[in-house]
Amino acid sequence: MRSPGRSRFIALCVAPATILFFLFMVMPTFNVFRMSLFERGAYSPTETFVGLNNFKVLFKDTKFIVSMQNTILLIVTVTIITFFFAIVFAAILTREKIKGQNFFRIIFYIPNILSVVVIAGIFSAIYKPDNGMLNSIFSLFAGREVMVLWKDQPMVIVSVIIAMVWQAIGYYMVMYMASMSAVPVDLYESASLDGAGRLNQFFEITLPLIWTNIRTTLTFFIISTINMAFLFVKAMVAKGMADVGLSFMYAQKDEGLYGYAMAAGVIIFLFSFTLSAVVNQVTKRDVLQM
């Protein structure tokens, strides 16, 4: 069935989405790379080509280097802690007969549906130095007034890590639960007949069989930690206190240094892309068939 009506119909259907997509996603992406080679006036749209100059300055900018170190620290710690809790809780909720299994799943996923701004608000109540939730609990155990300044140096990055893990556990747990429930039950049954304990079953059956899923989530961890770290730092940390890559970029934009900001964006993007590729390669295993 080919007719002029067909092409007209297709064009009509596809055009709006294509235009919006190119205007607000493809062009800006292209512009990130292009503008990183330019210097742009803060208030006038005149641009001067500066070559790789922005990058040269960037690599000597200690603030940028510190922000990238913070980013790496967050990627490593948040991934490890979240991964550990998410996979343990997923294994418990899928493998064990738990009363209120559904209840726990529902509760654990709640942080994921809250705005990062709301989470920042909740954690400002937790971290409040005087009469905050966390300090009051510590005071109770210590038997004296404990006054940890959670949102100041040096604790601020720990505070961000705790908040990010709190937010992410439920999301990854649900992901792992989905792939774990696809593992056939008779594998576990025959393993326990052979005398394999819970831990053995977990390492010999569960982990290898959901390995593909774990690899995918590792890439998610890298990409989403870079993004979420920005949202968390922007919402809950005082300006410039503990910048991560993208919040450094945004701070340059606020200063009107647009070309410089985009150079930082390019580096962060290349960094996340390379890291994901490397992790993907390193974790490559022969996939076990179920």
Binding site: S7, A17, M27, I113, V116, G121, S136
Partner: protein, 294 residues
């Protein structure tokens, strides 16, 4: 199967303790905010674990009017509804054609939208901001008009819809591709045109996927604050709820008005919590399909 022995019971107890601990760690802070939202300001200067003395409703009144959360709420509802509408109107036909028709450029477009999944808005928010500002200065130069693109809830909704397109098209085409072509053939034989076959026959079948899309994008549009903060940058202009809350957080910390801050927090999270309680099953199921959202 297995003999129950003391080690087994101990293990069971341990598991419950661990599960309940995490549940408490999540419920208590959220519940605390709800309780704090009806406390009077003087109650914030003592033990944080006391229950509210009275039901101090005034916090919500203050947040709603004095802190303008009421009008921000209206803005957020407008932006969210509008961007969801734009997204559905634009993405549904596009996903349908891309997944079910072969035409010149279809392969390229499919790849392009797939690649779009890897573009994160946090990277491109600055170029979008500059583009909008440049368009505004052209508008000002040509027609003496101000704030056509920046500080405009409608363009904010368009940007939201545009940035959600790759994920939405990906999810919908995945579903459309599984349907057999017999459905349209039958409709064509009955004399339906392309558009009629699409709207009357295919879209109703896609209802579950459409619902998933509405859920996920509702949450991300409602909670979003970076684009909104960047494109609605006028100090006196309109704001969406999360950005308003961010300002309220800064203002209340310095002015020590904690009651209205927590009331504001409740106002932002209550709609998402209610929605979640209604559709949590759907959401956690759909997530494994739409996991790419990250």
């Amino acid at each position: 199967m297995k003999k129950s022995n003391s080690a087994d019971t101990l293990y069971k107890v341990f598991i419950y303790v661990v599960l309940i601990t995490l549940a408490v760690v999540i419920i208590v802070p959220v519940g605390w905010v709800f309780l704090a939202s009806i406390k009077q300001n003087s109650e914030f200067y003592g033990n944080p674990w006391t229950l509210p003395a009275t039901f101090y409703w005034q916090n919500f009144v203050d947040a709603w009017t004095a802190a303008k959360m009421g009008s921000y709420m209206l803005n957020s509802v407008l932006v969210t509804v509008l961007s969801l509408a734009i997204l559905l109107v634009v993405a549904l036909p596009a996903a349908y054609c891309l997944s079910r028709f072969r035409f010149r450029g279809s392969k390229f477009l499919n790849t392009a939208f797939m690649a779009g999944l890897f573009i994160n808005v946090n990277y491109i928010v600055v170029p979008i901001f500059l583009m909008m500002r440049d368009w505004d200065s052209w508008m000002n130069y040509l027609f003496k008009l101000n704030n056509i693109f920046m500080n405009n809830l409608v363009t904010l909704a368009v940007v939201y819809a545009a940035t959600a397109l790759p994920f939405t098209v990906y999810l919908l085409s995945g579903y459309f591709a599984t349907l057999p072509h017999d459905f349209e053939e039958a409709a064509y034989i009955d004399g339906a045109g392309y558009g009629q076959a699409m709207i009357r026959v295919i879209f109703p079948m896609a209802q579950p996927s459409i619902l998933t899309i509405i859920l996920f994008n509702f949450l991300s549009f409602w909670n979003e604050y970076i684009i909104s903060m960047t494109l609605m940058n006028s100090a006196t202009g309109q704001k969406t709820l999360p950005v308003g809350l961010l300002n309220l957080m800064q203002a209340s910390q310095s002015a020590a008005q904690f009651g209205r801050l927590y009331a504001g927090l409740v106002l932002v999270m209550l709609p998402t919590l209610i929605l979640y309680m209604c559709v949590q099953q759907k959401l956690t199921q759909g997530m494994t399909v739409g996991g790419l959202k990250g």
